[in-house]
């Protein structure tokens, strides 16, 4: 099958080419892996990643701040509403008395009056019962307060009202925060949050709300109508800021941070929280003055919150944000080693070797006539073709074996499996590159075997091979490995024109299996072209 003398002749004729291409390609590969590995080319990527992570974190902190701020103000509002709603008890009492008077024709007095007072107290306290759930305060206690208040009401109406209000105010801190915390917990449960999270939300809400209700109580309004949200804005802002400060400070301390670091971070967060709540309030006021309304709708609140919590990625245009994020996620090593070295730069020299060698092994010898010396000896044409093919494939194999060794050593120097590309991946990349070159070698061999003229063999075999490489270069700008900022998706068309596309570097480095069937196609192309080449050379006319 293989003629030793001819094989030796081919070795002698082509070893200089082989050696120079192999050395140059190995050197290129070693430089790409080792030098780039030590340059930390992923620094920019990492800092970009940090920027976005920080932005997301800040956004999260801001959202929390605004939520807490809103919670504080809502708590004061709810306190005020609750207080004003309790005063209804006196109206109910007056109505009950009138009803009795209309029914009996006499004013209620003595025991009758007491029983009316009791009835109203029972009705009111049972109405209030749900709010008392989970507090130390009982329905009976409330009932007693109301009964006492109503009896003193008969003697001095105004004093009784004030003293009732004061009594209710004193129990508000026990009722309202509990109620609001329960609501928040229920909402979190609906959102499917974990038990721990719910517990945290509940305790946070309780703390903030308690503070707010106490603040409300200390304001000491003589009338519920006196309530104004603006009265509590500064209070809320101040409280949320210090709450965030404490929260972060404690968290940092518990994580073992130094005092100064904890203070620094907590202060930074305090500033962020302040910015968020101030911006939020600013936007709420904007909406109010715009609309001329006293009330702000929930939608407007959500809008204001979003504006207050904007991060960097929200502030820049969406396309730029996506592009920057993608840039942050891009792996420079995979791009340079996989898509640029193994698919383009590293293939160029072996391609030149294959184009020149395949041509010089058959077509050039037929063209010059030197093949006559081989074929005038008892050597079969098929033996000649197979021997020359064996030289081409074995020299290529030796080249890629060396390349594999160099690449594995380079990866080892760059940090082994902790490097961006691990041993398994680098072996697969080498195997893929050899298979690609196998298919190209098969094609160039076929051209060399079919054509009697060097010019045709070179222009068809070499021309199409270089065409495929150029298409891969152009197609790179349309492929997904390039960040979208630099990508022109129409350029991806070129990838469909190139055989090198079957060497699926993205699949190899991405850990998917789709590269396997593409490898099979490359193998198939190589085998088919080789068979066509051998049979054609066996049967064609030779001008020798």
């Amino acid at each position: 099958m293989i003629n030793r003398a001819l094989f030796k002749q081919s070795c002698k004729a082509n070893w200089v080419k082989w050696l120079s291409v192999t050395v140059a390609t190995c050197a290129m590969l070693a430089i790409v892996i080792i030098v780039l590995g030590n340059l930390a080319i992923n620094d920019i990527r990492d800092s970009l990643k940090d920027v976005f992570a920080q932005a997301d974190e800040q956004s999260y902190l801001k959202e929390n701040s605004v939520d807490f701020y809103e919670l504080y103000l809502t708590s004061t509002e709810v306190s005020n509403e609750t207080l004003s709603s309790t005063l209804v008890v006196f109206d109910q009492y007056e109505m009950a008395k009138q009803q009795y008077e209309q029914a009996s024709g006499t004013k209620p007095e003595g025991e009758v009056l007491t029983s009316i007072q009791n009835q109203v107290a029972i009705a009111f306290s049972s109405q209030f019962a749900p709010m008392l759930e989970g507090t130390e305060f009982t329905q009976a206690q409330l009932q007693m307060i109301v009964t006492n208040c109503l009896s003193s009401y008969e003697s001095d109406k105004e004093t009784a009202k004030i003293s009732f209000q004061n009594t209710i105010k004193s129990i508000l801190p026990q009722i309202i925060p509990n109620q609001i915390a329960q609501q928040a917990a229920n909402k979190a449960l609906e959102e499917g949050k974990s038990e721990e999270e719910i517990e945290l939300i509940k305790s946070q809400t309780l703390a903030i709300s308690t503070k707010a209700v106490n603040s409300y109580v200390s304001k000491n309004y003589s009338n519920a109508d006196q309530y104004s949200r603006e009265d509590f804005v500064n209070d809320a802002n101040h409280y949320v800021n210090s709450y965030m400060y404490d929260y972060i400070y404690n968290m940092q301390k518990s994580l073992g941070a130094e005092e100064s670091v904890a203070i620094q971070n907590a202060t930074a967060v305090k500033v962020i929280a302040n910015t968020a709540t101030t911006t939020y309030e600013f936007w709420l006021n904007e909406y109010k003055t715009q609309e001329g309304a006293t009330e702000v709708t929930d939608e407007q609140k959500a809008d204001a919150k979003q504006k207050a919590c904007e991060s960097i990625s929200d502030q820049i245009p969406e396309k730029v944000a996506v592009a920057l994020k993608e840039l942050g996620n891009m792996d420079m090593y995979s791009l340079i080693i996989g898509s640029i070295f193994y698919k383009i730069a590293g293939l160029l020299l072996p391609m030149v070797f294959v184009i020149m060698t395949a041509n010089s092994l058959i077509a050039s010898q037929v063209d010059s006539g030197s093949m006559a010396y081989v074929l005038s000896t008892p050597t079969k044409r098929r033996t000649v073709a197979i021997t020359q093919l064996a030289y081409l494939l074995l020299s290529l194999f030796a080249m890629f074996a060396l390349l594999t060794i160099v690449s594995v050593i380079s990866v080892w120097i760059s940090g082994g499996n902790s490097f961006a590309i691990n041993y398994g991946e680098i072996l697969l990349l080498n195997a893929g590159a050899y298979l690609t070159m196998f298919a190209i070698a098969g094609f160039c061999f076929m051209c060399s075997a079919i054509f009697n003229r060097t010019k045709y063999s070179l222009s068809i075999g070499g021309g199409l091979t270089i065409f495929a490489l150029v298409c891969t270069i152009l197609g790179l700008f349309g492929s997904t490995v390039v960040p979208s900022a630099m990508r022109i998706s129409q350029m991806n068309f070129f990838n469909y024109l190139s055989i090198i596309t079957l060497f699926d570097v993205v699949s190899i480095l991405g850990g998917t299996m789709s590269y396997l069937w593409k490898f099979a196609i490359l193998l198939g192309i190589g085998i088919i072209t080789i068979i066509i080449g051998i049979f054609r050379f066996d049967k064609k006319d030779l001008p020798l």
Binding site: L6, Q365, L542
Partner: protein, 325 residues
Amino acid sequence: MSDIIQVEHLTKDYGNGRGIVDISFSVKKGEVFGFVGTNGSGKTTTIRHIMGFLKPEKGKVCLLGLDSWEDSCKIKQFVEYIPGEIAFPDLRTGTEFLKNQAELLSLNDMTYANQLISKLQLDTSANLKRMSKGMKQKTAIVAALMADKEILILDEPTTGLDPLMRETFLEIIKEEKNKGKTILMSSQLFDELEQTCDRVALILNGKIVDIADIHKLKNPTSRMYKIEFKHEKDYLNFKLKKFKIVRDQPQYNQVTVKISLAKLNYLFNILQNYNVKFISEVKQNLEKYFKEVLASQIKLQAKQNKQSIKMLKDNEKIEGGNYDK
């Protein structure tokens, strides 16, 4: 098996009038057969068929009874070949090339190769690429002849060689012939074929026009003499003597006569009575012979052309006549 090389009705059409048409000949054992013809006449194409490099379109070529296309590998055991174009494999020195060639031929005994090298005074250590044409040709000769096989095929082996080198080369061919090898060679030069060959075929436009037997050419049964007379009277009288006059030049009083060997004495007897200025033998050679053949061919063609032109003219007349009416 006396016919070593047999070519039967070999045809290969490359289009545009190129190629070979219905070539048949055979070469006997120990015979040297020559091919002569102009460039592109089909010599090389025929030789490539014999070597099994080209597949015949029609007809076939047999060497020692083996089909040279089907058994192209087997026949190489008996054939040595010097190609027309000298292009060596991409190796460094002549020695390297010859060693490699010996390996391809499975040849272990290099004594004959060394004999040839010393006879040709060849420096095989020279760089193959920088060799002169003569050195390359010498190297090619050694590479072909070293296996000492029974058939030798050479395609225009002397083109580009200086006259001295050519003489050496022809010596070698003669030696090979004396060994009993069957040789087939092509050339554009008549004299070297005349020196070496037993028979020579003339190829013109892909066809064998004539095959000349060199022995017959060299030992003719009749000879030609050119005679010039001093006086016109003698010249005119001689013409009455019924000799076969091939060429007549009255302005010089010259005649060229063709005469059989037996009648030679008779001629000289007659000439004693005339005042002869000079007499010289006109020697026949291959070149002249083929020129005559070619001339007759051309005449024949011209005749055919004339006929066809005449026919064309006749047709035009008829058509023209029709037009007039």
